[in-house]
């Protein structure tokens, strides 16, 4: 990896900056704490070290977040409500279910749009326009509406996740199915290939790179949808519920830990799809 050295360097710089920022943001808070405890003349060094180890800092230091992650991931049994793994699994379930629904619907609509001219003319502008709309605003309402139908648990959140991942998939797959150039399409016609044959032998394979690119966007969007949905309906837990609980009680370390867990989850899912992309590309003989 020729990039690993620069990346390591940047990460080291960021962590160092983080520590500096943490000291300065927490310093006055810690001074007040010392002053309230009747200790006015504390040296800067001692205050700074205390500022990096506060209970409720403005900005927790990286080692505090790592410590919190360690405590809630490894030291707590998975079945406990305090375990971050438990909440991450809730979010993961919603994300995967939503992603599966959204991707299936998106692919289905894309296939229809490519084959039915009228559908494309009438629906595609709406699909594209819908990408400029902050659809996440619908999240709280979807939860309530589904509640009316006695649909509770992970499904309402999965529906929101599906809704968010649906549009990028449709747009990406339509682009991909359109990507074979006219020469190749003409060749299929000279072979007198049927529509199905053209689809499976030319359009579908040609759309592979677009497919994986939009799957990556979609899974990331599904996770955002799941987390936001958990914020609006936080009884069943999940990383979003941890964020909300943390912000209610001022538990900044807990917020940051939940954030890092969500980030790790998202990065893992995206890189898994990247891996599948590489495997498929190799099987298809792409020179990468």
């Amino acid at each position: 990896m020729k990039n690993s050295l620069p990346i390591a360097f940047i990460v080291a710089v960021l962590i160092a900056l983080w520590y500096v920022a943490a000291v300065f943001m927490n310093l006055s808070l810690q001074r007040d704490l010392f002053a309230n405890g009747g200790r006015a003349d504390v040296s800067f060094g001692e205050t700074a070290i205390a500022a990096l180890n506060m209970d409720r800092p403005k900005l927790p230091a990286p080692h505090q977040i790592v410590g919190e992650l360690y405590r809630t991931v490894l030291d707590t049994p998975v079945t406990s409500k305090r375990s971050l793994v438990h909440h991450a699994l809730v979010t993961l379930q919603e994300t995967l279910l939503g992603f599966a629904i959204g991707a299936a619907l998106g692919i289905g609509l894309a296939v229809l749009i490519v084959h039915v001219g009228l559908l494309e003319k009438s629906m595609m502008p709406w699909v594209v326009a819908s990408q400029t709309i902050p659809i996440i605003a619908l999240a709280p309402m979807i939860v309530v509406i589904l509640n009316q139908f006695d649909i509770t648990g992970i499904l309402p959140k999965a529906v929101i996740a599906a809704y968010l991942s649906f549009f990028p998939v449709t747009v990406g797959i339509v682009k991909g199915l359109r990507s074979p150039d006219p020469l190749q399409m003409d060749l299929m016609r000279t072979y007198s290939a049927s529509r199905a044959q053209t689809f499976f032998k030319l359009r579908a394979p040609a759309s592979a790179p677009f497919f994986f690119a939009s799957m990556k966007v979609a899974v990331a969007a599904a996770l955002v949808g799941a987390v936001v949905a958990e914020v609006t309906k936080s009884e069943d837990g999940g990383l979003g519920a941890r964020l909300l609980a943390g912000s209610y009680y001022g538990q900044t370390v807990q917020i940051w830990a939940a954030l890092f867990a969500a980030a790790a989850l998202s990065a893992t899912l995206v890189s898994l799809i990247g891996l599948a992309d590489q495997l498929v590309a190799r099987r298809m003989g792409a020179a990468r």
């Binding site: 400029t132 990556k216 979003g240 939940a258 998202s266």
Partner: protein, 258 residues
Amino acid sequence: MSPRALGNLAPPALFGAMVLVAWEAIVRFFHVPVVILPAPTAIFVRFTHSIPTLAADFMQTIQGALAGYIIGSAAGLLVAIAIDRSGFLQRGLLPLGNLVSALPIVGVAPIMVMWFGFDWQSKAAVVVVMTFFPMLVNAVAGLSSAGAMECDLMKTYGASYSQTLMKLRLPAALPFIFNALKLNTTLAMIGAIVAEFFGTPTVGMGFRISTEVGHMSIDMVWATIVVAALAGSAFFAAVALAERRATFWHASYRQRAG
């Protein structure tokens, strides 16, 4: 408007109208309760009756979204130019920027609300974080998009670094920069609205949605969503229009003009 543009516009307009009519018919025919799905006409009535509230919400949210959008995009562009001369920093920052783009950054909302208070400043801060990385990644890609031939030409003119940057590489990067600007319009709206779920003064589109959902007045929620959709599309359209003006020379527009 040319007849051809009208021809392109008619099918989606018809489709949209059909959906609205079907929606209205289903709600009326099956007597769907308002708490599940209000009819389009009911939403429209609600919309016209609560314009002052909706306008106040809009102003509150757009303030945070716009401020964050401008600061975040400008910062992303400036950092991209700053690390432009260092291949080392670019190779370090780009993979990280790509990674961060896939992360659920909206999650920083509760932290920003703690740091910057309930008012629009905290929403702007969320938007800054959300819009920074897409701009950084796109601008770095754009700055390296000028062709080798053009760069060589600038060298033979004896152009300085800043001259090459201003006259060749920044203009060449414009399509990429506008791509990020368009992407960021949606992110800005999302960031501003979601951040309001975590705490706000009693005004704002995100606040309105979450409280009216609590009161079960779903028609008001829909009215707010209409405003959000209109605002999001208008924001996007404004940037797209600016792009057309600024990059009229680009192949994707030249072809369409012919």
